[in-house]
């Protein structure tokens, strides 16, 4: 969402009203812990005026030379406190850890804070285009991973990003890179295995699963472990994990969402996009949204399976209602059913006429509504 600059300014003003700055040895979870972790105290810290930067507003904690060292050690976090309310207002990790010695005054260089008010205004340079590289976690086979475009820019230091997991079809089992990527929607990548321009609109982490045996609950376990690994090592927004799959990977979307919810307390998938897939026809977690896609020139068994999966989805989420609409995607007439429950369209089913099993993978994402819908979904629990 893009917001007016005053929204950011109001947030910065609360931070700038803090009456104390602490340099701490670790991230504090409470006011009392901030005090106990504090190595340096600076009363009444000063802040710069709030100004524009490329995609939002920025304010800095101004540098100082006279921090009072209360304990020797290495400071890794700057913390702004409200000592009257006894609350931590804000903290962030220091760019460079600061070693302090009792008896000396501490120097802190200026610390910028950023708030992106219009992330659609971000500039993406060709030199920064993210590449896919191999990632193997635990027992899973090597998948392909890339971080969001501009992930390492300073202004994005405090920004978390969605994670998209892509699961390909069975033709990629044990295959080389070229075969793997041929099963990934063509809108998503370039011929040199980089992220396509598509991801400028939705900057996100992408993990491409590359199983060497047919997707099932065991493979889902590997991919769930990989999601946890990525969450622990990168700035992933845990409320925006989405899974997109084609054919075997269509079934894989449901295997993975079910396994993740059943085996991880925080294992919440926000939205799925299922292209075909004839196995695992139920979706246990009612909080997951799903868009089902099927080409009407596909195998009748597969068509029936996807229709059954969508029917099961609705049955497991009673009390909603359905609307239907005829549209066109890539010149092919489509029938779209939207299932409204819990106050929003949280289920969708699209039939594509004159579309075969092989065609659908490169057609679905020509419809901009699909990614727009997926990225609008968050876990709200």
């Amino acid at each position: 969402m893009s917001v007016f600059p005053t929204v950011a300014d109001e947030m910065f003003n609360v931070i700038a009203n803090g009456d104390g700055l602490l340099l701490c040895s670790a991230a504090p979870s409470s006011y009392a812990e901030a005090l106990s972790l504090s190595l340096v105290v600076k009363p009444d810290p000063e802040f710069s005026p709030i100004t524009d930067y490329e995609i939002g507003r920025t304010m800095s904690i101004l540098h100082f030379f006279d921090g009072i060292v209360s304990g020797g050690g290495v400071c890794t976090y700057v913390v702004i406190i409200d000592s009257v309310a006894e609350e931590v207002l804000f903290y962030q990790s220091l760019k460079d850890p600061l070693t302090v010695v009792v008896g000396q005054l501490a120097y802190l260089p200026e610390q910028p804070l950023y708030f992106g008010t219009d992330q659609t205004a971000e500039t993406f340079l060709e030199a920064d285009r993210p590449s896919f590289t191999g990632l193997t976690v635990g027992a899973s086979s090597e998948g392909q991973f890339s971080a969001p475009w501009n992930y390492d820019k300073e202004w994005n230091d405090a920004r978390s990003y969605p994670l998209v997991v892509l699961i390909p079809g069975s033709g990629t089992l044990g295959s080389n890179l070229a075969t793997l990527f041929s099963n990934i929607p063509s809108q998503f990548w370039t011929g040199t295995y980089d992220q396509s321009d598509q991801w400028q609109e939705y900057p996100c982490f992408i993990y491409i699963s590359h199983p060497d045996t047919y997707y099932d609950d065991t493979i889902a376990g590997h991919d769930a472990g990989t999601i946890e690994y990525i969450k622990q090592n990168y700035r992933v927004d845990p409320t925006q994990i989405h899974v997109l799959g084609y054919s075997m990977g269509g079934s894989g979307t449901h295997y993975l969402a079910n396994h993740y919810a059943d085996n991880y307390g925080n294992g919440k998938i926000a939205a799925l996009s299922r292209l075909v897939g004839y196995l695992e026809l139920s979706l246990d977690d009612p909080g997951v949204s799903c868009w089902y896609h099927i080409g009407l020139n596909d195998d009748p068994t597969y068509i029936a399976a996807v229709q059954q999966a969508y029917a099961n989805f609705k049955t497991a989420r009673p009390g909603g209602y359905e609307t239907t609409e005829n549209t066109t995607v890539s010149g092919k007439p489509t029938l779209v059913k939207s299932y409204v429950y819990d106050g929003a369209v949280n289920g969708r089913y699209t039939e594509y006429t004159s579309t075969s099993h092989g065609d659908i993978v490169n057609i679905v994402y020509d419809d901009p509504d699909v990614l727009r819908w997926i990225f609008s979904k968050r876990c709200t629990g």
Partner: protein
């Protein structure tokens, strides 16, 4: 790694709730004046819930309403919240689906949740 107090996030959300008009636009508006040129439908004085926790931060909801009034014909792709007295575009985001708007027709709008995520 960083984090902020709920008071910080709530200050931003409360500022957004000074918006007095909900509109649907034909494309993404860049500022208040641009939003007015792209406006296809509107609802005055939308209702907001109190700010509340969610897993990733703080949020409020623009409550569902049944009387979004079309005032031009076209395909709506974005919604926006406007502070009319301050002539400010408080926020804008894509609709989950392109919606055909016909002037003079009223449309129901499902609740819209607006979130202020905690920093990473």
């Amino acid at each position: 790694m960083s984090d902020v107090n709920d008071r910080v996030l709530d200050a931003g959300l409360t500022e957004m709730k000074t918006a007095t008009r909900f509109i649907v636009c034909s494309s993404q508006p860049t500022d208040y004046a641009d939003a007015l040129t792209k406006e296809l439908a509107s609802k005055s004085s939308p209702s907001y819930t109190a700010n509340a926790d969610y897993a990733g931060g703080r949020q409020f909801t623009v409550e569902a309403f049944a009387d979004l009034l079309g005032n031009a014909n076209g395909n709506g792709t974005y919604y926006a919240l406007l502070d009319v007295s301050g002539t400010a575009l408080m926020g804008t985001a894509p609709l989950t689906a392109t919606t055909a708007i016909v002037s003079g027709t009223t449309y129901p709008v499902a609740a819209v949740t607006i979130q202020a995520p905690r920093p990473a």
